[in-house]
Symmetry: D2
Subunit: 474 residues, 4 copies
């Protein structure tokens, strides 16, 4: 529950009313970003593009009449929670620009670790930056590339990026999907009638009735055009580094990502493994909903301790909720979660959560369960302790705020701070065993072993462009 | 999942920043009505009232600056989904009027079966109706009552109402809570510091830190004022008729209503009983989330068939969602629910839902599960067949639209129509056994035995007042 | 420029798309009220009414799609600037209610002086008030009237009102127009094809292409129905008391009101008379635009001193203008008016305004002209000193705030306070002479001779209903 | 009345709460552009910039809380009516970008005739365009300039532009004001306490209490920084080409522009000259308000024919007005103007307008006056016939739509088409005589003699970027 992935992307080629499909697809990807949404559509017959982007959730941003003004059989879309790049209207994706050879639009999920270095170089060569998002760097690389053909311009430019990117792009001839050589973020290809669709997760396919074909491969740049599909490949391919946190927390449980892994099933297996490693006798197993549910089911089935829905989640909370003023601070977690008192009274409870970042929410939940009458509260986490920040697109706090990396904090220290009767994490070995093909995944947030050198990522450029959004004014 | 209750109410006496508390309370009661929200606050020192009401969800309707303009230590609030009374700004509760003896505000949950008869009589006597909601009738009854004291005016007026009402009222002297003699709808009393709070369900208490004291009794009119609490009683008390559907579907699982029944636990018991009555061999039990979850857990535990979260619910869907146009109709249920394909493939599945009304959604879910690869789909319902409409505040369709009351439809007929491999309902006897003190509940929607005569309820008055809301214009 | 009239009304009978016509008519009457706007339409075939009312200007309140949801061949409309009745959504007119004999809608311009007395009586008899506006009193009087026929109910009820009212009403059978026996406020009848239109001023007719027929007479209640027009008359007719301030300031110059007086021409004559009475040698005559223009033209033509547009008015200022913070207070008048410096430099200037109320704006204008380089500034007012408040619908401040009624203030005292080189008002005799049929007009604000006893008008009822509008929250 | 200028600009240096001053200044310049508004503020101490831009009028776009989020002692602002560059959110000025040496913001009034040529060249060299407005070209020229110092970069880049530009720019060190060598558009310098202000017209100075110092000279690039003011000069200076249409129609009458010409006074003189050249005996002279007023006063004073305000203008019309549907087309002009019937009846009327473009509005006005009863309608225009389009920033229609350039249309042909009894234009000689220093002005729209070669201005680039604004959705 604690971390936020930054973005979801989707793209369509040769699909009727592509912008409407993009709307439904972005709706299915809403969990990947709730801050802003945008769609760029293109009519392949004329090459004209139509753009609409706004702060807000997908259902707030778009109306039927807006979708009608986004005609075309090609489209890309984006939902965003910002990591880098201030939260401002100017930064809403997709980006759209006009080159001398035509229009180009791009939507990006991930984080470019050499962004600041590239940005400075480009500025010295005369590039002007209108936004503070990394994606704009690609636009300038393409503009300045000497290659004759656009296909090569794009591949050459992507080759200069380091870090994580799963992207969809639109030109008058192609829908293009690209994934960094490590394949940090997911990106899947599907079929929709005679047309094609690319999306961050397969849950977007289910809603629009598309059929999953395959993943975009790490390092692949897939061009979808009139004459069909062809791929070019980025250099540096080899070691894969799929983000294991997508499986643990980010992706939707009904998605299949990273070459067909069922997110629900692997989470359940994390729970089973956790039961093996961290069994404790208790009266019930309860999840922190919604993300802890599959692991709690797995824990319950393996341990034989009954599964119960001891915490009820309120789903009506939205961005406009009025935060309580001083003196009511502890209402925070209560707004989302409420215990079922009668159920918990006098009981020994195992609580399953997917991860702990700062630990503040976990402590509140444990107190809430105790106040509801639980006799014992045992916290079990279906992933190892998070000790290092992510540089590939996940919004982790600074290392010093991670409860598991503070001081020489032992599990026992954390347990005390969270006020749990016992605490158990899934081991890194257990995690790897469940994942299988463990070498294909990135565990940097648990181990500090970064597959792509993040040096240079300490933001040296202090962007001084602030833009106010209408939403801020409410 | 199929029926909608109409309203939630809340009231405060001697509570600092009462309107802010009302905001949080209504937020906790949001599941009882998402169409409009309103708060009336009162300063007991001056008797001044402040009103804000608008179409929309609680978090959309109120902002911090609006709450600041609702000062006072008393307040009542209301969330609404309209049953009778057109959906229009004029009908948003609470209602507030000025009598010669002062201000009076009221918020109402329920349905008055003799509303049209009373309305006509009152109009003949010179009453003017500004709204089309039943609650306005009470205002006129009070205005025309001859009693000297306001306490008697209110009790005499409530005595003329037939049907279901759980109400909170505000006068310069009292917060008043009233519940009809049958006690159809819940209404609970809590303590908040030195002050008092009344709400539809206890989940509202949990969020604001109030302590549950007791239910407002059927037929009780509770006056909370400077000198403490005192009660008067309506005539006609005796037979209780708590709405069993509040337990089956409406109330939040973390609430305790009807003299302390835990909603979660009784739903789980419905599931256990259902497993006893309607066992079938299968690979997994899955709920239709969220309302079917406790019953599915109960079914799983009693039957020993593993519980799985085979359908994932998307909670981002809001009122502004763009419904798909012709040719994409089947997207309807998909927007809310998506199956976990890998989990279901080749499996025999028991699906647990709380009730079936029209049956259209059930059929879509069954098809969705089959398309996801389920080998067998067995539908189990944790309540008996709904065969009769409700006249006490629940928005059931006309009898002919109820799948279980059509023709001489047998369970087998329904099963065929829903395309299930098997279908089983909880029996009425089983339901009563689980409920305990069965005589205290209303089962009219299952049996047609109406505890209060609904004759006269066929709306004879064709209100011709239409009002347009801004929301309609989007 | 200083006073504000409260309302404009319009009504249609047997006119296609009546609500659209009402929109244009209210737009033409926008100067009579900018706070809120509302339209009630009715289909004569079904008797169904459709209402839309909102805070804001006519063009802000209505959209094409809203007008489409207001079908019917009958309609009434209202624009409002509140005098009595707090500025709140609940008080937006027209009012619409349901009697036992059907729907009734009303829109009102004027002020009822015995409102509080009637309100209290009605409340004692059991009436409930939903709004704080006087118009609601009429609704209750009608509801409680014993007459058999609606025509008599309405006339009897209007007969109980004292003060100023020009009203339009809608019933399933009639469009009704009523004017108080004194005829304080204008109300005119026009023909539109086969149908009829009633409006506050003829400028509304011009825009929709209607033809002026005649004024609704003082004391007349005109019923327009299927069988044509017929009138009933209120008691107390005799002395007319047309509001002379409508001619001086309120009405639009392109209107004809009060039996065909051209507002532009009479204002010009006020200016001519003013030149005769208050001539002074100068280089130019300039108006305070826009209301002072016709009088300034008259003054210039009679005096022979050239007319110049020495003050330019900025028309972009709207309700949402951000008022300057402390230390920039004098920006107030500057926002609306800016002098033409080169024109004024070293010149002797006669400034013409229609009236002075508090005097604060006049002083600022005079200072502004001096700062722009004017050598002499002579203020001439095309009406007599305002010494008494109005009780018939004009929003004058309390008497003590009227500059001309303070202390034993002589013209010379006022001149000093306004910092003018000279000051001259039109005499009451001059005013009467220009008006002609002087006995038909009310001059109470200049003389204190009130044609209808305003005793009882000191608001004794402290309404305690406050309602917040969304607009306040910006 | 017929043409629209495109933009107004304003800039501040060393002024407390610069963004608030910019708000008032833009409000005073609102007549130069009503489509969008934007402000960029900068804190000189930190170099941080803050941006807010939105579709809408100044008072709609900004709120107090937004202004508070635009801190700093430097600011530039812009109001816009688009000529080139589609009307879209992306095109709202000021533009703000980040160079390697810091932030740069610019706001522009005018039109660059070699924009497309430059744009193509820049794109070939690797520039990416985010907007479709000409101003972005300057940003790229600066980015690609080899000069060491920013001052030179800016001057070199401006030197490459051809056409009309009056600009304000903001860097961390300077407020910069630049005007093209011909000086087509006005740009004035003022003093505000210890600080400086630059604006399109002096009317902006009046509102904020600034003192006019001098014009920015044609070809001057003025740098205002910590060490005071210094100027650099563009090549190509020599021939001045002030837009005479600013005097005839665009500028506000209370402004002084083009080295101190009083707009009001020169318009009055155009009217006087017109009376000399095109006298006709009549009963009254009336203006088409508001722009025709000064010329009508001049005509009246010189001819001795009385001035009257025979057409009343409705100022409430806004962008959201609902245009009438088919069958009511002639309501168009009526919404803005309404005749004073009694005044006009049976009279011979001289109507004064500032110019005729298409002629459609003039014909409607003449018909309106005749319907109001005028016996004769004589149209007099205070400028020569418009025969050629403008390429320097004025939104004229294509040449074929200009009534005076169609066929071999004589004045008599135009008169017939407008249905006037007589028609007279001010001669080009008369215009020049009144203007004085006639060689300093551009008369291209009357003569076709373009002072800067507009060849290349035929837009060759078909921009295919469309962006939808929220406003469109209403």
């Amino acid at each position: 529950m604690p971390l936020r992935d930054e973005c979801g992307v989707i793209g369509f080629y040769n699909v009727e009313d592509a912008s409407q499909k993009a709307y439904y697809g972005l709706f299915a990807l809403q969990h990947r970003g709730q801050e802003s949404a945008g769609i760029v559509s293109m009519e392949s017959s004329t090459g004209k593009t139509y753009t609409y982007r706004h702060m807000g959730m997908v259902t707030e941003v778009f109306s039927r009449s807006i979708l009608r003004k986004l005609p075309g059989d090609m489209a890309i879309g984006h939902v965003r929670y910002s990591t880098h790049g201030a939260s401002a209207p100017r930064n809403i994706q997709p980006l759209v620009v006009e080159y001398h050879w035509g229009t180009f639009a791009v939507a990006h999920n991930g984080n470019i670790v050499n962004a600041d270095i590239l940005r400075k170089e480009l500025q010295r060569e005369g590039a002007i930056f209108h936004t503070t998002i990394d994606t704009e760097i690609l636009l300038h690389l393409i503009a300045m590339d000497d290659s004759e053909y656009i296909e090569n311009k794009i591949v050459n430019s992507l080759d200069k990026l380091r870090g994580a990117f799963s992207m969809v792009m639109l030109t008058p001839r192609y829908l293009i999907a690209a994934r960094d050589p490590n394949g940090f973020r997911p990106l899947v290809l599907g079929r929709l009638g005679e047309g094609w669709v690319v999306a961050s997760e397969t849950c977007a396919f289910d809603l629009i009735g598309a059929r999953y074909e395959r993943d975009i491969e790490p390092g692949e740049v897939l061009f979808i055009g009139e004459s069909g599909l062809f791929s070019k490949y980025l250099s540096g391919r080899g070691k894969r580094s799929y983000c294991v946190f997508e499986l643990i927390y980010f992706a939707r449980p009904d998605s299949m990502i990273f070459d067909g892994v069922s997110v629900y099933e692997i989470r359940k297996k994390f729970g089973e493994k956790l039961a093996e490693e961290q069994y404790i006798d208790a009266d019930m197993v309860i999840p922190v909903p919604d993300s802890g549910v599959p692991a709690a089911i797995g824990y319950s089935q393996r341990s034989g301790i009954p599964f119960e829905m001891g915490l009820i989640r309120n789903h009506y909370i939205g961005r406009t909720f009025i935060q309580p003023e001083q003196g009511q601070r502890d209402i925070g977690v209560k707004l989302k979660l409420n215990p079922v008192k009668n159920l918990l009274k006098g009981k020994r409870v195992v609580v399953i959560d997917d991860s702990i970042v700062r630990g503040t929410t976990s402590r509140k939940i444990i107190r809430m369960l105790r106040n509801a009458g639980a006799k014992e509260v045992h916290l079990r986490i279906s992933s190892p302790p998070v000790t290092h920040p992510c540089f590939y697109g996940i919004d982790t706090p600074a290392q010093k705020e991670l409860i598991a990396s503070q001081k020489a904090s032992s599990i026992e220290d954390i347990r005390k701070e969270l006020e749990a009767d016992s605490l158990g994490y899934l081991s890194i070995e257990g995690l790897m065993e469940v994942v299988g093909k463990a070498e294909n995944f990135c565990y940097a947030c648990f181990t500090g072993n970064y597959p792509v050198d993040p040096i240079g990522v300490e933001r040296t450029l202090q962007m001084s462009l602030f833009e106010i959004s209408k939403e801020e004014e409410k």
